[in-house]
Subunit: 143 residues, 4 copies
């Protein structure tokens, strides 16, 4: 099991993502977290699309976010996703969103995922997912 | 076949739908058109959800929109959906979005739909859909 | 100050809001919470649009959500927003999302808001907002 | 004036952008077009954010899209934006969305933009925008 390792992905804020105040709408942060953990998984050779093709789904059970400093249109942000804990029942991630030069922490959050089949019934998280190994040094990837 | 009949639905603009200029983002108009034609279909007793449960899908083949006057956050707008033409190959709608008292035309658009199965293969539009009858006087419904 | 009073608003899930699993995307719950508290405020005669016109903004400082049971396309859900606590520094709400007949609790969440001006500087929450009075029995409103 | 030159930008489809059919929601294509033309402008040294800081805005007057082949979650697509015509009154772009190896044309569209000030009044498109020069060979850029 690979825990407490992190992955960084870079996202440029789109015009259609900002609200009337010119800042990233607070609900969008959750989509950025999702991009972070999806790209993270990809580094281990895992593709979420294939996972779904096998009719298994990772669903969000719980999420939280603290908003510290607004993110503006056209900003480039760095989403740092950390795998905190993975058991047969759940996967816990934490997230930080930093500005491009990492001088400002925009937000911090966490999520808990569980695995279900296509009837929505809770499933044990498959071994191949529990046993994935990630490249050990944090790696960067573009969106 | 019921053509050139119209249906009106009312939508209040949500905060998360407006952009930095405080107006409904232009891509959202297409979602409003979609709400319009879905609510329209519902008046005939047709539920798009049941249609999909039968593994048939109406897909957009073509869409266009003319933007005339911006729509602001919290505005209440009236989407008027008109069924222009329905053949076994396609369904054509036109749309108008008006302000609440119908003194300002915000936008006008049109769309063409086709029917596919879950492999994406084009299908004849089912007879029950071609033969739907809609309440004859234009009816209103909330979102 | 009016605390621990609740407001219920009804929302029908739009096609463009569901994801590949046919369920409301988890980030959209936060937009539903936002609709809940906006409609709630409206019952007290307060319009968030006017508030923004005065160049004051309520910003999200913290949000969390527990997802209990998926919400499908075309479902009608009831968002119950409760004002838990309001001080000159912050406003706390809790939320529950129930199915139409209130037999299933889909999700529960909470949020903390603060007030800023248009430079993003933290402001005391204005007295008129602290002193708003809401209709005492929970009231319902459509989206 | 630089017309009929093209720019290509690459986008990976996000989970939160696909609908129940597992494909990019038709309204999202318009957001992809927007990313295409924004990135295109950026190659000329123009930043839309600075433009807005000067209280000028490019608004969509008209848009259309033909959908030819669905785009799935996690697909990487290439958006090719072409500047067709630019006059003091309007800017016309065309768009094509191709799959990664450019063997499948997913969609083709066009848009017309006009320039307004922050009261929404139509403005002449500023000379500096009319006179922008773009790198002559089509260039690629990531999202």
């Amino acid at each position: 099991m690979s825990e407490n390792i992190s992955f960084e992905t870079t996202i440029r804020v789109r015009y259609c993502e900002v609200d009337k105040m010119g800042v990233l709408h607070h609900s969008r942060y959750l989509a950025y977290f999702e991009i972070g953990r999806t790209e993270f998984l990809r580094t281990s050779g895992f593709s979420y699309r294939e996972f779904e093709d096998a009719r298994l789904y990772l669903v969000i059970v719980k999420v939280s976010c603290n908003y510290k400093y607004p993110i503006r249109y056209d900003d480039v942000v760095r989403v740092i996703t950390t795998l905190k804990r993975m058991t047969p029942a759940k996967i816990e991630h934490t997230y930080e969103i930093w500005n491009e030069d990492k001088s400002i922490l925009h937000a911090a959050g966490e999520s808990t995922l569980a695995c279900v089949d296509d009837t929505g019934t809770l499933q044990r998280i498959p071994d191949f997912l529990l046993n994935l190994s990630y490249p050990s040094p944090p790696k960067s990837g573009g969106d």
